[in-house]
């Protein structure tokens, strides 16, 4: 019986890291970008745990615990930021904040129009039937 070579685990870690990187670069939803960063951290964690296993010590696992700690801090701050940004622009689109870009850079515009959103179904509006009975003031029985 032979063990799997170390580089198998490193490759999986690299793939997860790069997928997260692509998602972070390409997606525009702030929440999805946040999830992609978390996925990059998962790839790094696999690398560290694999090195810990193949070296036979616990330092890599301790590092992963610190990664988890920092990821928790990051989640708290990132979600608070997302909440604040949403309150200002009423959208999760990161490109709504492109006026923060570097001076001299041109703004990116979305040339391609979005297809129209599907029409909402129109439900029949029924007029209320009958009359609401008159409410009498309660008489005191005391």
């Amino acid at each position: 019986m032979t063990a799997l070579p170390l580089y198998h685990y490193l490759m999986v870690g690299a793939v997860l890291f790069v997928l997260g990187l692509i998602g972070f670069l390409a997606r525009r939803n702030l929440i999805v970008m946040f999830l992609c960063v978390e996925m990059m951290l998962q790839g790094v964690a696999i690398n560290l745990a694999a090195f810990a296993r193949y070296r036979g010590n616990l330092q890599g696992q301790a590092f992963v615990l610190f990664i988890v700690t920092v990821a928790a801090c990051e989640a708290a701050i990132a979600l608070a930021l997302i909440l604040m940004l949403y309150r200002r622009r009423h959208s999760l689109d990161a490109s709504k904040w492109q006026d923060l870009r570097e001076a001299g850079e041109e703004a990116t515009e979305d040339m391609e129009p979005l297809p129209p959103s599907p029409r909402l179904p129109v439900y029949p509006h029924l007029t209320p039937a009958g009359l609401e009975p008159e409410h009498r003031a309660e008489e005191s029985h005391v």
């Binding site: 690299a14 793939v15 997928l19 670069l25 301790a62 992963v64 990821a71 949403y86 999760l92």
Partner: protein, 358 residues
């Protein structure tokens, strides 16, 4: 046998098994990324299936099947597939579900890597994180229809190109380096085999002739020396090899016990070769870390004294959580305190940022 990165680059024949799945996977991600006018879904699905077949399933079938490898391949396939889903889903709620799958498969890999405490901690912490993300999605998501945030990508082509260039570089170096290591291991194996052949002879003169006549134009001892000198940190092996060579040359061929003595020297040489092969097969142990024994295998200087299991991996402490805790609170005490302070600061910061002023 130099070990710089350039020499580890693969040749063209080794390049295609990596490049083809990378190309297929890259174009699959490119086609699947959200846009106002989406490409047909089956393009991306077909391409990603091709990439997974070429890059995952075929190597798995080729590399021999054991319970560990089946678990490894299924966890990593699940993780990569749900990673692609996370990146390409339009709906953020589904993306959060895909992220949950990524975390679960990572936890499976942690279990394979003998890290059960990490598995439990990751599941517990990320379950909370994912639920909070779900709450945010439900709170903030656009009610219906398409939106700029979910149905557009920023430069999908450039982003995919960047990512897969980085991935390609990483994989080429990883695969090339491990191939090189394996080649060197096979070379040492051939040397050991050759030495065994010499030791099987019954005559000292014949042994001398077989050693001296050489194999690939060199004497056997010099070949060992070449292998040992190829690594900077193998001077101990080369010194011991030199001692064996001196002892070998001092044996008198006319002595009636010459054959036994020669065999003993050759046995020492074989032992040195096996040490070299093991060193090539497994990562060197940390020798100069200031960490205590509590962080795992004691930092012994001799590579050969590390206890290994049947598969050849170094043994880990059975009581993972207890040892991890001891390691954290002895060797990593200051980082633990810093991490705690960081959590406190992050909590204060999050409250300060999200506080509604008005």
């Amino acid at each position: 046998m130099s070990y710089c990165l350039l020499s580890a680059l693969p040749t063209a024949a080794e390049l295609w098994p990596i490049a083809l799945p990378l190309l297929a996977g890259g174009s699959a991600v490119y086609f699947l990324l959200p846009r106002p006018k989406t490409y047909p879904r089956w393009w991306g699905a077909g391409l990603s299936t091709t990439a997974l077949l070429l890059g995952g399933v075929l190597p798995m079938l080729g590399s021999g099947v054991s319970p560990e490898s089946i678990l490894f391949w299924s966890f990593s396939l699940l993780g990569i597939v749900s990673g692609v889903l996370l990146v390409t889903q339009h709906n953020p709620a589904r993306a959060a579900l895909a992220f949950a799958l990524v975390v679960l498969s990572t936890c499976g890999l942690f279990l394979l890597l003998a890290a059960p405490f990490l598995m439990a901690a990751t599941i517990i912490i990320y379950a909370g994180a994912i639920i909070v993300t779900f709450l945010f999605v439900i709170m903030l998501a656009q009610p219906r229809g398409m939106s700029d945030a979910d149905d557009r990508s920023r430069e999908p082509g450039l982003a995919t190109l960047t990512g897969f260039l980085l991935l390609g570089t990483l994989l080429f170096v990883l695969v090339g380096y491990s191939q090189k290591l394996q080649d060197n291991r096979l070379g040492v194996d051939r040397l050991i085999e050759r030495t065994r052949e010499v030791a099987a002879l019954n005559d000292r003169m014949a042994m001398d002739e077989k050693i001296g006549k050489g194999w690939e134009d060199d004497e056997l001892f010099k070949q060992f020396s070449g292998v040992f000198k190829s690594r900077g940190d193998w001077k101990d092996l080369d010194d011991r090899r030199a001692q064996v060579a001196i002892a070998w040359s001092t044996i008198d061929p006319l002595d009636p016990k010459a054959v036994e003595a020669s065999r003993a020297r050759l046995g020492e040489l074989i032992a040195l070769g096996e040490i070299a092969r093991d060193r090539l097969a497994w990562l060197p142990m940390a020798t100069e870390t200031p960490l205590s024994d509590l962080s795992g295998a004691p930092p012994v200087r001799e590579f050969e004294r590390v206890r290994r299991d049947a598969a050849g991996l170094p043994r880990m402490p059975a009581d993972n959580a207890a040892y991890l805790g001891r390691s954290l609170f002895t060797d990593f005490l200051l980082p633990v305190e810093l991490g705690g302070s960081l959590l406190l600061v992050a909590t204060v910061g999050a409250i300060a940022i999200a506080f509604r002023r008005s």
